[in-house]
C-alpha cells in the first residue's frame, strides 16, 4: 500500500485502504453498493490526519486553503460578465 504523508497514520490508513479496495472491487464496481461501508474507518483515518495536526504541521492545510481560494479567484475571473 502507498504510505501516508504522516507516518503515525500509516496503520489506520492501511486498514481503511484495504477496506476501500475490497468494497470498490467487490461491491461498487459490481453495481451492488448501497452505502460506503468503509466510512467509519475513513473517519478514524481522517481524525488521525487532522486531529494530530499531521496536515497542519506540514503547512498543508494552509496550502489546501490557498488552493481553494485560488479556485474561487479563477471562478470569479471566468464568471465575470464580459463587457457591458
Amino acid at each position: 500500500m502507498s504510505a501516508s504523508l504522516a507516518p503515525e497514520c500509516n496503520e489506520v490508513k492501511e486498514r481503511y485502504d484495504t477496506c476501500f479496495l475490497k468494497w470498490y472491487s467487490e461491491k461498487y464496481l459490481r453495481n451492488t453498493a448501497t452505502t460506503d461501508e468503509c466510512e467509519p474507518l475513513f473517519r478514524q483515518y481522517k481524525t488521525c490526519l487532522t486531529a494530530k495536526k499531521a496536515l497542519k504541521e506540514r503547512g498543508i492545510d494552509q496550502m489546501l486553503e490557498e488552493a481553494r481560494a485560488d479556485n474561487k479567484d479563477n471562478d470569479a475571473e471566468y464568471m465575470k460578465p464580459s463587457g457591458r
Partner: protein, 242 residues
Amino acid sequence: MVKFYSNTYSYDYNFPAVSLAYFLRYPNPYSRHVASTDTIERSFDPETQRLTTVRLHVKQSRLPPAVAKLLPKSAVGQDQDGRAQSFILEKSVVDVREEWMETESKNLDWNNVLSVIERHTFRRPEEESGTADHRTDVSVSVTLKSRIGEQLRKRRQRWGEQATATSVIGAGGEEEPVVKQGWFSSWSSGAVRAAVESISLQRTERSQPKAQLGMSVVLDRLRQGGIQAVLEGMKDDRELAP
C-alpha cells in the same frame, strides 16, 4: 501565456480494471518519486452511484535545472540539495453505471512558479466498436501556466492606477513610483515566464508516456494476480525507492 498539452489513447483493459488501477497507481516502477498518497475526502452517492474522491500525493521533485537557473532559490522553496516536495491535489469522480471516470490534478506548491492542471477522462468505448469489454479510452490534457511575477504585476497595476489618478488631479511632474530594479525587472519581460512554460511543456511531453507505462504495469499486475499482486508489487517498488 499558457501552454497546453493533450493526447488520447486506449488501454486494452475494461473500465472497472482501469478505474481500480487509477486508485492503485502509486507507487509503480515509473513513479518511485511518489512518497505518499492520502485520501482526504470521499463520498458515495447511492442515488447516482457516483464516487467522488480527493487525494493528496506528495512527490519528491527536483526542479528542472534549466528552470532552477532562472529563479532565485527563495522563489522555489527548495532545500540545499535542490530537492523540493511537490503536493498534488487530485479529485476524481467515477460513474460506474455509465462507466466513465474524470480526474483533475493540481500541483500545489510550485504555485509561485508554475501552475499545472492535469485532466483525465477514462471511458468505456461505444458498444458498436465491439471492443467495449476489453478497452478503455483515455483523453488527457495538461495546462501549464507560469505564475512568476503575478503578484508583482498586480502591485504594479495598482501603482499605475494611482499614478494616473495623481496626474489627473494635476500634481504634474511627479516621478513614477520607484520600482526596485534587479532581477525583478526581468520577470516582467515575460521571457522567464515563457522559458519556464516551454521547459515544463517539454517535461510534460516526456513524463506523460511514463505515467501511461506506470498504469500499464499496475493493470498487468491486476490481471496476473488481482489486488494482492498489485500490493506486493508496490512493496517492492517502495523498497527500491531512492
